[in-house]
Amino acid sequence: MKTNDLILQTATKITVFIILAYSLNLFFAGHNTPGGGFIGGLISAAAIVLLLLAFDMKTVNKILPFDFKKVAALGLLIAALTGMGSFLFDVPFLTHTFGHFDLPVFGDTELATAVLFDTGVYLVVVGVTLTIIQTIGEDDD
């Protein structure tokens, strides 16, 4: 019998954007308030898991055509490179810095290089979580 998931799928289509927006909020708010790369990555992964629940794996792979093992590797690479970037300025490994800039919309903004490291953490968390879930869920056709 053909299943009818119309209500779940319609609700998913709207809520996924709220969840992703909230995860980005947590990711960027992590410097001064609770949040950061780890929890932001987990919430992004949860949004994609919701998509996997409402639709099937083939559809989700068509929407997000990433190999999540490579996403995790890319995150590790970014984290290592931002650590090594400190060598260019003759300071110890993983030294981070920040500065104030006048951005067009945001005004005076404090930009820190720790965000780049956090991007690496974010990508690793998303990649590892989705690799685990997709590997477990892959057995059936």
Partner: protein, 120 residues
């Protein structure tokens, strides 16, 4: 004025807490899974919404701090909680959980027959 507003927010939060208690009583007292689901997915949603609304208004008007995450919380809860109730009810019906014995009408009972008639 501030004191009156504080009392108003306290009333909103207490209303939400009361609704949550009512839904908990509904779980204990009602006879089958569908009526329990009916009690929980409605009154608990409104109860938590009232608590969030009271908290949001308190921090916005008294403390002068507007937290948009709480507004996002309203929208999210308002959209997802009824859907969760619907899915639980449907899963219960599809796994043949019986209705309360005093139920008088079950329109979904012969849905397979209707589906077969429609497909012909």
């Amino acid at each position: 004025m501030i004191e009156m507003l504080k009392i108003l927010f306290a009333v909103i939060i207490l209303f939400g807490a009361l609704l949550s208690v009512l839904s908990a009583i509904g779980i204990v007292r009602l006879p089958d899974v569908y009526t329990r689901n009916h009690a929980v997915s409605k009154s608990a949603t409104l109860g938590v919404l009232s608590i969030l609304l009271g908290t949001f208004l308190y921090f916005w008007i008294i403390e002068g701090y507007m937290n948009f995450r709480v507004i996002l919380g309203f929208v999210f809860l308002f959209m997802t909680s009824p859907v969760a109730g619907h899915l639980i009810s449907r899963a219960a019906y599809n796994s043949k959980v019986p209705l309360w014995e005093k139920s008088v009408r079950d329109d979904l009972k012969d849905k397979d027959k209707h589906a077969k008639k429609l497909s012909q």
